[in-house]
């Protein structure tokens, strides 16, 4: 216990003596953690959004009105047998009309119809948006103007052709950019914490020399430096989380009513985010000081 107090005293003494570099390391940690705290929810929201869009992507095939129930069952079976088909949904004529009614603003258009002109249809969902073109090619082997693989299929409704790939590309690019930014920021804080510890080793070289001479063990000499790193990570993480929390309650929360994209952030979970960021900032600074000690503290 008295040892722990000794380590902390030594660490804080050293941090105070190296005020400027310590502050630089803490500020970098703060910036890194704040940016991570903003980027992670944005990243998750973008991912979630693209997932939901991709979920909605499907092919829709209308069928002839005179198709029998058996024929429809057979078609369903055939569609489900196509590779990468996740599920097949049958939309009756009545349901199609109901959807139309929802879509149009002038409800009288639907009410004024004498009969239901809309065909029944099958919606085919792919397991991944990228596999949708393959499914379409199976149903219409010679393009959508050619003959379908089953005669009761009347027509393919055009639905977001190629948008699957676009979304895929945008999300992929976003992932790469954010990963690179995150990696650079983590590297920067790692190096700045390392630099602080290196300076601390330099300013405390006499203490280290004396400790070695009087027979302090290797870890006894190292602990104060390790604790210095942890303190930097702790302080940086704490300030950053405070900033993030203030940002959340003053900017994000009031706006989330108006913007769905922001509201979608709820699925990240603010407490989890805080814990993860806090742990990460302490971990990164501990690694930074550990690596520096390995290289520069010869005991």
């Amino acid at each position: 216990m008295s040892r722990l107090i000794f380590f902390f005293k030594e660490a804080i003494r050293a941090l105070r003596r190296n005020g400027a570099p310590t502050l630089a390391a803490i500020v970098t940690t703060v910036v890194t953690v704040v940016l991570l705290g903003v980027l992670i929810p944005v990243f998750q929201t973008a991912q979630g959004k693209s997932d939901s869009i991709r979920d909605e992507l499907h092919a829709e095939y209308s069928i002839y009105d005179d198709a029998t129930k058996a024929e429809r069952q057979q078609l369903r079976g055939e569609l489900e047998a196509i590779p990468h088909v996740d599920r097949v949904v049958y939309v009756t004529k009545a349901e199609a009309l109901e959807r139309l009614r929802d879509l149009v603003t002038d409800k009288s258009i639907a009410d004024n119809l004498n009969s239901n002109p809309l065909p029944a249809s099958f919606e085919v969902y792919a397991d991944d948006a990228a596999n949708l073109p393959g499914i379409k090619a199976t149903v219409f082997p010679n393009g959508s103007d050619g003959k379908p693989f089953n005669p009761i299929v009347a027509k393919e409704f055009a639905e977001g052709d190629g948008s699957g790939e676009t979304i895929e590309q945008v999300t992929g690019a976003l992932k790469v950019v954010l990963t690179v930014i995150t990696a650079l920021l983590v590297l920067a804080s790692l190096m700045l914490v390392g630099n602080t510890i290196r300076l601390s080793i330099y300013t405390r070289r006499r203490e280290v020399e004396v400790m070695r001479l009087v027979g302090a063990t290797r870890w006894f000499i190292r602990w104060p430096f390790m604790i210095e790193g942890v303190i930097v990570g702790f302080a940086g993480g704490l300030v950053a989380i405070l900033i993030l929390w203030l940002g959340k309650i003053t900017i994000v929360d009031p706006l989330s009513d108006k913007f769905k994209l922001l509201a979608a952030q709820d699925n990240v979970g603010f407490p989890t985010l805080i814990v993860v960021l806090f742990a990460a900032s302490i971990l990164v600074s501990t690694i930074g000081s550990g690596l520096t000690l390995r290289r520069f503290l010869k005991v």
Partner: protein, 282 residues
């Protein structure tokens, strides 16, 4: 107290008695070649018994400091064995080196004090970093500072002290956990003759408690006058190892008086010194 605790931890009884019989320092054919080919020590053989007061002399570059560094395993011998209390320290695992150093007090020419800590804290630091209890620190530090004659300057910082006083702090730090061996590398190198005698007298006093003291110096006059065992190194070899007795039973005070008389300083030569250290001795 740290010492009896260490003894109780140290293995079975027969081993302990063998360790007690063995010389505190024993070098067999010790050779040190630095990278680059410079031979600092050339097949050194020597043995220093418990409780001895030994001078290690020789010109600069003769290998004195190399030898001292080897005894605390700051350097490894290229060849041969270095034994401390019967143990081959070259075979000590890394982890045990710290324990070796706890049993050897070291004093250097440049004092190696921590400038931002008080006299008390400098000495206490040596106990803190080896994990001594607070009670032990409170007991040992003032006692040791009284021994070196600095009990009135506990709260001074090193830069408020004279050179001699600073070296006393350094001696106190080396001796605070009562190691069986004290190594002093040019302890009076930066000090004037009277202050030097004061430091020697202090080391002699420590030697009187049963501690082996090895003093490295190039001050031939001092060595010749003290009439202790002298080991002289020249270009990495032992060229002289004389044991001259006759004064082994003298008290610290007698020792000091004789030193002053023989070196032509002291009572009548007080004017040429700062007077500081010398007065406090009595």
């Amino acid at each position: 107290m740290a010492k009896p605790k260490r003894n109780s931890k140290r293995g079975p009884a027969p081993r302990q008695s063998r360790a007690r019989r063995a010389p505190i320092i024993e070098l067999n054919d010790v050779t040190k070649v630095y990278p680059g080919g410079h031979m600092a020590l050339d097949r050194i053989n020597l043995s220093i018994g418990r409780g001895e007061f030994v001078f290690l002399v020789g010109p600069t570059g003769c290998g004195k400091s190399t030898l001292i560094k080897m005894l605390i395993r700051e350097l490894d011998a290229t060849d041969g064995t270095v034994r401390i209390a019967g143990r081959d320290i070259g075979a000590l695992p890394e982890k045990k080196i710290a324990l070796l150093r706890r049993n050897i007090g070291t004093v250097f020419q440049d004092f190696k004090l921590l400038p931002n800590r008080t006299v008390y804290d400098n000495v206490a630091y040596a106990l803190q970093v080896i994990g001594a209890s607070r009670a032990e620190i409170r007991e040992q530090v003032p006692a040791t500072l009284r021994l070196v004659g600095l009990s009135t300057k506990l709260n001074n910082y090193p830069d408020q002290l004279s050179g001699g006083e600073q070296q006393r702090v350094s001696v106190a730090r080396a001796f605070v956990n009562h190691p069986p061996l004290v190594l002093a590398d040019e302890p009076s190198g930066n000090l004037d003759p009277v202050t030097s005698i004061g430091i020697m007298q202090l080391l002699y006093r420590i030697n009187k408690t049963g501690t082996t003291v090895v003093v490295v110096t190039h001050d031939r006059e001092m060595v010749d006058n003290m009439r202790r065992r002298v080991i002289e190194l020249y270009e990495g070899r032992v060229v002289r190892d004389e044991v001259s007795g006759g004064y082994t039973e003298e008290s610290t005070k007698e020792f000091g008086l004789r030193m002053r008389a023989e070196m032509g300083v002291g009572q009548h030569g007080e004017g040429q010194t700062n007077g500081h250290d010398h007065e406090r001795l009595f």
